[in-house]
Symmetry: C2
Subunit: 877 residues, 2 copies
């Protein structure tokens, strides 16, 4: 195995080996850009370093030596040489850019001898000593872990002594003195003092970069971005060029287009007589890149022309670092630039119009996740900077929300009636909060993760939600929220940023979501290419309408139980549950029939003939039961039975593990009247629409949740078919409907082949499937998952991105079983994963026919589906 | 497809088609026993009957006609014929005997014409009319559903009128009159009155037998005995022979050996001048079979000789029905007889000694489940009959127990100290009751199923347990138990029968368990044949000792958490959990080290070098936390922290679904100190034993529960290996230990191939695997499973017998994955299923190396493993 590559040995397709930076340096080098030469120690060496007990082994060290010799030969310079000294930079570079997460060391190779040579050769002792002191500080801190303060105190001290404000005002002699003092810092902490041997410096620097792969912030970043911990970082060792050699030198960063707006203008900034760190540090204010023209027109023109060349070569917007050494331009880095959703859309469309890329390349440029921000209102950036942040939770539901604090759902609904905007603040939410969540502008909870009830429901509603804000102390009784030491009461105004999870005091102005023409264009491209259908999860006509506007091709999941919780309905459900006879039960449940039928009619109408998968009742029994004494009394009175009987029923229905309890189709097996009523509601609604639109058909799909066995589904199907066929026969229409099941229990996946004999479609409920396959309770996992992240056992939340290895295998077994029995079986997914781009790619690969997601995720899913097809082409179904 | 077989067309191996009775009638017929001829409508016809909407279709009716014609030809008689009338019996007969569960109709073919012919031909009008009235009542009730009372009232009425007590005292004329009155009963309920057409009688009777397959009691029986509902029953139509033709006729039932003791004597009873129903009805007292010799020595000798012939032919103890018609002996049925555990052992051993069977045949005779009773004390049968039954629950733990009622564990332990026997009565038990359960003679709970905490733990202890006694009202505060309207207080004595689930008031004398020589012999045979090892689940030296006596080859599961709950230990665990620093945690947990090490030493000692799989801590975190204010204060004081902090910790640790929460190895990931301490305890104990027994090795096996991923197990293995290797190195011994994992989460099964790279063994935790695969919470499933049984969706409790289709597939995936990576991987099972004979057969078939079960189930498992090998031979590992 070869662990070290010279730049000229690589190319841009070797990212997995050389890391992004290394591959791009190699590529730039090969297409003739001015790049200082060097070599890359590959990513696998990082893993090897850890495997060898945080040591670089002999064979890799030898390869580094060989590469260094070649570099020295090529440059005619030599590390540590007294006459032609070579200085190098040592930089990290993983497969996927992790900006700012890992370490860099510049000016390596300098010591007391070399510094004098440089001073003499450049006739610029100040530059020489400036480089020296910079290296000493950086190397000391990063490679050897010496305390930052020790260096900083010396620098501050000398500036004070000399009476100067800025580093640049220090003279060569001052810097020489500073170097001396820095040596004392080294001597204080290290036996041997400052390591003057440049080879030792190099080895230590490379080790430091490897170590920086596993800093806390780097690990956290990888968790956030689904980057496997095994990948490791490469290390790039590159000849130094100097932006700090005086006023004809400089350094800068630039984007080939504006990363915020996407406008086709050069965007960036530069600083003369400086090294890269100065731009970042913000001590001196850099100038906009356009002013480079005034500073050095020739270099500017060369830069503009090379930027064009890079963009044309990479066919994507570039994010570049450059240095000018005494009037000569060098590129130190290029990579595809990160951009906002708006910018991504504009860049793709304009590059296409410019003929630079085709549609496919355009789609591959756009990270679907960035579209989230395009689809929701956001805070005015300027106002946001000045706002008072008072806390932080998880960015669980998108958008920005401002409102008066309320502590219960009823109050949210009441104030909404008066036109007052509210933020619903709850320790956590439950299904009984649904109405209040609808009424509120945003939701803030103290507990719960990204897939807690609050988060899931809020995302479904496209509602702003910050959840799991651990520092929020909520006292429901007192009606107070305490954050950052301040106590807020009902009526106080706060603002929530759903895309960052931040909480602000007071009101921050917002800007509305705008779907520009570029957005529509990109969606058109996506639809041309993708083979995966995109449906939506929607329970209301309003949501359905919104989803259709966003391009949903139907509903993949209507959760009918949400329709059970409203005022009159929940009372009827409760009456049913405490009924003693089949007749009492049927009479109680049938009170809901007209309401539910009306819901379905409106949803069918909003879909305009597109299919809707309607899932029969799902949540645990006890969620429907009365809990407060008032509710209990209400039910007892309505049923004319003793309060004690209702209390006993409530008590008896408590469960140890409700997620694996009396729920889903288990309720139907116990109370078949529910299925009868729901079938009646669906089919009667469908028949009504069918009369108005005789050409519509197959638009009603009945779906049974939590199935575990063929016999179970058969038993339920008999009820559905009996009720439906009777109604259809009486209607004298040719209405066709579909019958299918969720696959969300591992056993259902194992026996999917049998189940498919009577199920026309499967919809994977990947939330529950993930719960059962992992044995993770979604509501409790936040207690132990952090330990799994900290210890790098899990990289990302399996409830956010589907676990392809474990849950994925279960899904594949079900797909194979289902298709074997019924080759044309319709396979889809309606869990939260249906809106996650990485998961969508997986679902595309295993051959599903559609994904279903929240309305606001539909455009994201459309794009993700197209990208999946581009990466893993499969036949259109 | 052929739906009807003449007896002479079948044989004993066609049970699946002809049912047990039909196959045996065919067999007896073919080996020359005197059997009245007839034909069998096969089991599949029953399914067809239901599929056709409870109708017998034309083609089957036609086959019945053809068979009837052949029967008529053979017997020279004709159904309904005025001169040579044929009478037949119509009897059920499923694949597996379901005694008394289904219907029978005798004397079919009789009507006003036929009765007179019979009267004339037999010169016995009384016999003729007796047969007629018997048929009318039986047919009316069974085939046509007429009310029993209507017939009974007429019979009582006529006896009153005639002033007689017994049916036999009614004269021919009386019976003729009764027939008239019965006709009125028919006319009252049916338009056409009594159906005189014998063909109509036959069709209705066959339908009645099919219908009786689905009576409530039959369905319940099948659930109890794991008989699939699809099988259906066959119907046997057989020429009648008459035991009621006067004093030279008779009928009886007999076993070829004593089914209670197994003694080789003819066992049974007979009644002269009677039909079979008279023997069952108990109106007249039958005589012991030995007296038949005095009644008719020729017939008796013929009978004895034919019984021998049957036993020799079937090579098993036979349960037979016979009839003597005017001095001629007929066999109406034979089947392998049901027997007690004691009898089964004796019969097998003696038949082997007699040279009648070989060991393999002997083992296949013995139902492993019957051994349960051999292994536990039981109530004296006579006393039991007179005892006052006050309630019933599930027969969750074997044996018989008598004691004073106590309502909490502490009291049970306290009284045990004073030598007083108790029954622990709890709504349900939790891990904190363990000590009390140990102290009590038996456990009674009001809720929970066969695999509830109480049931599982009690079986593990071999303790008598009746759980889920729904009618038991327990008021803990008042200290009362109300059953059957009577309220019992602490100190009142009750008796529990763990093999029937019955609860009795007062004390019933018991007889101790005795393991006879036959038992040891059968175990020896089992061990010669089986390839599956049998280990035990044991947490204490006493249990271990007992299991070894019962033949356990090691421990498959030691639950270390049981060792955490006792007095001092639980305090240390609690201190650990509220600790804020790693050091505090380690110091707290290390208080347990010497105690746990001592536990392990004793267990290793008791095993005498056999291996012990020790599972690291498993249950949810919150089970260990203090709950009462006193406990909370105790912890707060010990840790010198505010009570509020401990309260907050307790509150924060509450879980929605603890079964899928913070438990198992997730605790280790959060608190690695636990694994360090437990490794230290295991290895230090092993080293101590190793010093005493230098030839012992590989006897300590460390097992991690709830694993989901290779990385997770890797992380834990590093800790274990570090601690263990250090200790072993310091000890200067060559101690080897094994490291493995449970496979109890579906995901672990899916990635078993990866996990096997570092796990030397897998132990399937089929309890949890069943929970996750079905999405059934063991503690809650009793709320909805009854509906699944009632509706025939599930046949048996998947927690009692492993679900081969769903859970079994998951297991197979893991077996294949594990063996692919590590061909010599040791595979076992340590869930409750390890002691269930049907499940053991499955585990044998998928290639596991061992099962592990409660000590009292070890002999059952040894036998079941041998039988599995006989049925599905595989190579010895």
């Amino acid at each position: 195995m070869k662990y070290v590559y010279l730049f000229k040995e690589g190319n841009k397709d070797m990212k997995n080996t050389l890391g992004g930076k290394g591959a791009n340096l190699a590529e730039m080098s090969s297409i003739g850009l001015p790049v200082p030469q060097g070599f890359t120690v590959i990513c696998e060496a990082c893993g090897q370093y850890y495997e060898d007990g945080e040591k670089i082994n002999e064979s890799i060290l030898k390869e580094i030596d060989v590469a260094l010799l070649k570099l020295e030969k090529e440059t005619g310079k030599k590390l540590g040489d007294a006459t032609e000294p070579l200085l190098v930079s040592v930089r990290s570079g993983a497969r996927i850019s992790m900006p700012g997460m890992m370490d860099t060391i510049l000016n390596l190779g300098i010591n007391d001898v070399v510094v004098e040579t440089i001073a003499a050769k450049t006739n610029n002792p100040r530059f020489a000593y400036d480089s020296y002191r910079r290296f000493m500080q950086m190397f000391g801190e990063v490679a050897l872990g010496l305390p930052y303060e020790d260096f900083d105190n010396e620098l501050i001290g000398i500036k004070k002594e000399k009476g100067v404000e800025s580093d640049v005002d220090l003279t060569a002699d001052d810097l020489k003195e500073l170097v001396k003092r820095y040596k004392k810092v080294y001597a204080k902490h290290l036996d041997g003092g400052f390591p003057t041997d440049p080879k030792v410096q190099l080895t230590e620097a490379i080790k430091a970069v490897f170590r920086s792969w596993n800093t806390e912030r780097a690990i956290f970043y990888r968790q956030q971005n689904n980057i496997p911990h095994e990948w490791g970082t490469a290390v790039n060792v590159q000849q130094m060029v100097f932006g700090n050699k005086g006023e004809t030198s400089g350094t800068g960063v630039a984007f080939s287009r504006d990363p915020s707006t996407g406008e086709n203008v050069l965007y960036g900034e530069f600083l003369m007589n400086a090294q890269g760190e100065d731009v970042v540090a913000g001590i001196r204010t850099p100038s906009p890149i356009s002013q480079l023209k005034d500073t050095n027109e020739k270099v500017y023109n060369q830069f503009v022309s090379l930027v064009r060349k890079l963009e044309t070569h990479y066919k994507d917007m570039q994010d570049m670092e450059f240095t000018i050494e005494e009037g000569t331009l060098y590129f130190l880095q290029t990579r595809n630039g990160k951009r906002t959703g708006h910018a991504a859309l504009r860049i793709a469309v304009e590059m296409y119009q410019e003929g630079l890329i085709n549609k496919e390349q355009g789609l591959l440029q756009i990270d679907p996740k960035t579209l989230d921000s395009v689809l929701h209102p956001s805070f005015e950036p300027k106002a946001l900077k000045e706002a008072k942040e008072i806390g932080k939770g998880l960015n669980a539901g998108p958008g920005a929300a401002i409102g008066q604090i309320v502590f219960n759902s009823a109050r949210a609904t009441e104030l909404k009636g008066k036109g007052i905007k509210t933020i619903l603040v709850r320790p956590e939410t439950s299904p009984e909060d649904i109405k209040g969540m609808h009424s509120a502008e945003g939701i803030l909870t103290a507990t719960g993760g990204m897939t807690s009830h609050a988060a899931v429901v809020a995302r479904g509603m496209g509602k702003c939600c910050v959840c799991g804000a651990k520092d929020a102390k909520i006292n429901e009784e007192a009606g107070t929220l305490t954050l950052a030491g301040v106590t807020y009461k009902e009526g106080d105004i706060i603002s929530l940023d759903g895309s960052t999870g931040k909480i602000y005091a007071g009101k921050i102005p917002t800007i509305p979501a705008a779907i520009s023409g570029n957005f529509a264009e990109v969606m058109k491209w996506s639809d041309e290419i993708r083979v995966l259908d995109v449906r939506t999860n929607a329970d209301t006509p309003a949501d359905t309408q919104k989803a259709v506007e966003f391009g949903a091709q139907g509903i993949g999941l209507t959760r009918t139980e949400h329709m059970f919780f409203e005022g009159d309905r929940i009372r009827a459900v409760r009456e049913m549950l405490v009924s003693k006879t089949k007749e009492q039960r049927a009479s109680a449940i049938n009170k809901i029939l007209p309401m539910q039928q009306n819901d379905f009619e409106q949803i069918f109408e909003a879909l305009g003939g597109r299919p809707a998968t309607i899932r029969f009742i799902d949540p645990p029994l006890h969620e429907f039961l009365p809990h407060t004494p008032k509710e209990i009394k209400e039910v007892a009175n309505a049923m004319n039975i003793p309060v004690g009987d209702v209390e006993a029923m409530v008590e008896a229905s408590k469960e140890f593990n409700p997620m694996m309890g009396f729920r889903g189709c288990r309720l139907i097996i116990a109370y078949p009247e529910i299925a009868e009523m729901q079938t009646r509601a669906v089919i009667q609604a469908a028949l009504k629409l069918k009369k108005q639109h005789p050409d519509w058909n197959d638009f009603a799909e009945i779906m049974i949740p939590l199935t575990i066995d063929l016999k179970e589904l058969e038993w339920i199907k008999k009820i559905v078919v009996r009720v439906a066929d009777e109604l259809i026969k009486a209607s004298k229409t040719d209405l066709r409907y579909k019958f299918g099941t969720m696959i969300e229990i591992p056993r259902a996946a194992m026996v999917a082949g049998e189940i498919a004999t009577i199920a026309e479609f499967f919809s994977f409920g990947t939330n529950d499937l993930t719960q059962m396959t992992f044995g993770f309770s979604r509501d409790d996992a936040s207690k132990f998952l952090p330990y799994y992240y900290d210890n790098k056992i899990l990289v990302s939340d399996p409830f956010a991105t589907v676990d392809q290895v474990g849950v994925g295998r279960v899904i594949k077994i079900a797909v194979e079983g289902g298709q074997q029995t019924r080759p044309d079986i319709k396979l889809g997914v309606c869990g939260e994963h249906g809106g996650d781009p990485d998961s969508i790619e997986f679902f595309h690969r295993v051959g599903l026919k559609y994904v279903s997601c929240s309305p606001f995720r539909v455009p994201i899913a459309r794009l993700a589906a197209a990208r999946a097809q581009l990466k893993f082409p499969r036949e259109k179904h």
